[in-house]
Symmetry: C2
Subunit: 337 residues, 2 copies
DNA sequence: TTGAAAGCGCTAACAA
DNA sequence: TTGTTAGCGCTTTCAA
C-alpha cells in the first residue's frame, strides 16, 4: 500500500507533526531531524495526500472549467490560455464538457461543487442557464467566471471580447480600401452574429450605403458544411448584386466566400475583397490567406484564469473586455480594374 | 459557511449515519426519516464533500489526463473521446498540459499522484520519458494508459493507431487508380513519419518503383507554415520529376501539395492525385476536399478511457490498435489525359 | 525544536 | 431501522 505520513514518522522515529513540518517547510526543524525524515520519505516513496490536506485545511487547489464542446477550435484555444495561466499557480484544472446543453452544463457545475473546487470558469455559458437563478445561487457559494457571455449577473467576473469594435474595425478596413458596397454574411442562433449585424446596419446606414438585400444568412454557421453552404448561397446571390467586398461573421464563411469568388472567376482581392472573423488557424491555411479579425482567444482564457485567481484571493469580481483587432493577410485590398 | 453532514443531522434530528445512508441510498431508511433528511438537505443547500468521502473510502473518482499541447487539433479530438467515455462513468477528468516537454510531463503525472487520481492517461508520451524508469515506477503505483506511444512497458495499457496499415492502404488506394510514380512527403522528428516512410520504401521496392529522390522532407511538419513550405518545396521539386500522385504524411502537407499543383497549372485529381493523413477537420475545408486517412482520434480517446476503467476495475492491462482507414474525397482518382 | 492530540467531513462496522 | 464511534491522512494548536 501507499505510504502515509504515519509510515514516514515511524520509519524516521519522529512524530507525524514533525514529518508534516518537514514536508511543508513552514516551521523550524532541526537539520538532523529533517535529514532523517527526508531519507524515510525517499525510501518509502511517500507522496503526501492532497485530499487529506485539503480536507484538513478547508482549502482546495483545483478549478473547474466547463466548455460547451471540443470540436470547435475556439474552445481549445481558450482552454490553452486558461491552462497556461493556471500552471503558474498551484491550482489544477478539472475539465468538463457541457455538450452545448443547458441541463448538462448545470450538472457539470454541480459536480464541481461536490468536488470542492475553488471556483468555476464557464466558457460560453448557455444563454438559458446564464440568466437563471442557478448561477445566482452558485455565485453566492463560490467564485465564478464567465467567458464570452452576453448577460451579466452580480458576483460573477466576466471576460468578453469586443465584437462591436471588431465589426467596426472590419468595415473600416474595407472602407479604407475604397469599398462601399459590402455584403454581410452571417449565420443563425448566435448572439455574436446579432452583434455584428447591428453594427453593420448602423454603419452602412450612416453612410447611406445600406441595402437590406446585402445581408446574407447561411444557416448553421459553425459546421464543416458551412464553408460549402456559404459558397453555393453566395454564387447564387452574387449574380444580381455587384459588391466589391464581403464581410463574413467567421472564417468558415469567409473561406466559402473566397471559394465562391474563385469559382465565379473573380480574383481575390483584385476584383473583390473578403474579410473573416476569429483568426482561427484555418485562416492561414487557405490560399490566398484570409484577412480576418483576431479575437485573441488565448488571452481570453488567460484573463479568465487571472480573474478567477483574483476572485479567490481578494474576493473581488472584475469585468474585462478584450479588443478585437484586424489581421491583414491576402484577401483584402484596393480594387484593380 | 457550507453545510456539512453534521448540520443536516442536527437540522433533521437524526444521526450523521442516517444522513449518510439517505445521501448514498445504500442502506434501508424509513420513508418518513428519509423525507425529514431530504428536507433538511434542501433547506441547508447541503452538498456532500467528495474529498472527505474519498479520504474515508480510500477511493478516488478522478482520472488525470496529460496532453503534450493544445494547439494541435489531434489532441483536442482525443480529449473529446476521453471526456465522452468518462462522462458515462462517475469519474471526472483532471487535465494538464506537458508543453511538449519531458520534465514537465513527469511533473504533471506526479502532481496527479498527489491529487490521488485513480489513474493517469498520457497522450503521446514524450519518447524520452516513455522509456525511463519513471513510468515503470509509476505503473507499479497506479493504472496507466498510453495513447500513441511506440515503446511498450509492462503494467501499462496502450492504445495506438495502425499507421503501418494506414500507409499501406493509402498507397494501395493510389495503385488502384493506376498510379505508379508516387511522391512521398514527410517531415522531421516524429516516429509517425518514420513508420510511414518505412512502409513506403518497402512497398515501392517490391513493385520495383522506388526512387530515392521521390522522398521529400519539408522540415517541421506540424506548424501552420508547413502548408506553405510544402508548397514551395514541391513546386521546386516537381519541375524535374513527373509523379502522378503524392502521398503526404499529414493533411497540412497535403494541402500544401494541392496548392503547389494548382499554382503549377496541374488539375487535382485529373492530372495528379494527392492523399493526406489524419482526416483533420481541415481536410474538408479545402477545395477540392482532401482524400485522406482517418486515424479515428475520437475512438483513440474513447478506447483510452475504456482501458483505464478496465484497469481500475479489473486490474488488467490491454493493448489496442485501431485501424486507419481511407476517406475518399476529391483529390484522388484516375488520370485524365 | 518536538510531540500529543483534536478535528476537517465522511463512511461503515457494530450495537441496539 | 437507527445511532455510536473509529478512523481515512493530514495540519495545527498547545504544551513540553
Amino acid at each position: 500500500m501507499k505510504a502515509t505520513i504515519v509510515d514516514v514518522a515511524k520509519e524516521s522515529g519522529v512524530s507525524v507533526a514533525t514529518v508534516s513540518r518537514v514536508v511543508n517547510g513552514n516551521y523550524p526543524v532541526r537539520e538532523k531531524t529533517r535529514l532523517k525524515v527526508e531519507n524515510a520519505i525517499k525510501k518509502l516513496e511517500y507522496v503526501p495526500n492532497l485530499q487529506a490536506r485539503e480536507l484538513n485545511t478547508q482549502r482546495s487547489s483545483s478549478i473547474g472549467v466547463v466548455v460547451p464542446s471540443f470540436d470547435n477550435m475556439f474552445f481549445a484555444q481558450v482552454l490553452d490560455g486558461i491552462e497556461e495561466r493556471l500552471r503558474r499557480s498551484s491550482y489544477s484544472l478539472l475539465l468538463a464538457c457541457a455538450q452545448n446543453d443547458a441541463a448538462r452544463e448545470e450538472e457539470c457545475v454541480r459536480d464541481f461543487i461536490t468536488r470542492n473546487v475553488s471556483g468555476v470558469i464557464v466558457v460560453s455559458p448557455n444563454t438559458e442557464t446564464a440568466v437563471s437563478e442557478f448561477y445566482e445561487n452558485t455565485a453566492a457559494r463560490l467564485p465564478l467566471v464567465f467567458v464570452n457571455s452576453a448577460r451579466e449577473l452580480a458576483g460573477i467576473s466576466y471576460v468578453t471580447s469586443d465584437q462591436r469594435g471588431g465589426a467596426r474595425a472590419a468595415l473600416e478596413h474595407l472602407f479604407h480600401y475604397g469599398h462601399e458596397r459590402i455584403l454581410f454574411v452571417q449565420g443563425e442562433n448566435s448572439d455574436s452574429y446579432r452583434i455584428k449585424e447591428k453594427v453593420y446596419r448602423e454603419i452602412m446606414r450612416e453612410r447611406g450605403a445600406f441595402h437590406p438585400e446585402d445581408i446574407v444568412n447561411v444557416g448553421e454557421g459553425n459546421r464543416i458544411e458551412t464553408v460549402e453552404n456559404t459558397m453555393f448561397i453566395l454564387m447564387d446571390m452574387m449574380q444580381g448584386l455587384a459588391p466589391t467586398a464581403i464581410f463574413c461573421c467567421n472564417d468558415l464563411m469567409a473561406m466559402g466566400a473566397v471559394n465562391a469568388c474563385q469559382r465565379m472567376g473573380r480574383r481575390v482581392p483584385q476584383d473583390i475583397s473578403v474579410i473573416g472573423y476569429d483568426n482561427t488557424a484555418l485562416s492561414q491555411y487557405t490560399a490566398p490567406k484570409l484577412t480576418t479579425i483576431d479575437q485573441h482567444m488565448g488571452d481570453l482564457g488567460r484573463e479568465a484564469a487571472r480573474l478567477m485567481l483574483k476572485q479567490i484571493e481578494e474576493n473581488v469580481t472584475e469585468n474585462v473586455m478584450l479588443a478585437n483587432t484586424v489581421v491583414e493577410r491576402e484577401t483584402t485590398g484596393f480594387r484593380m480594374e
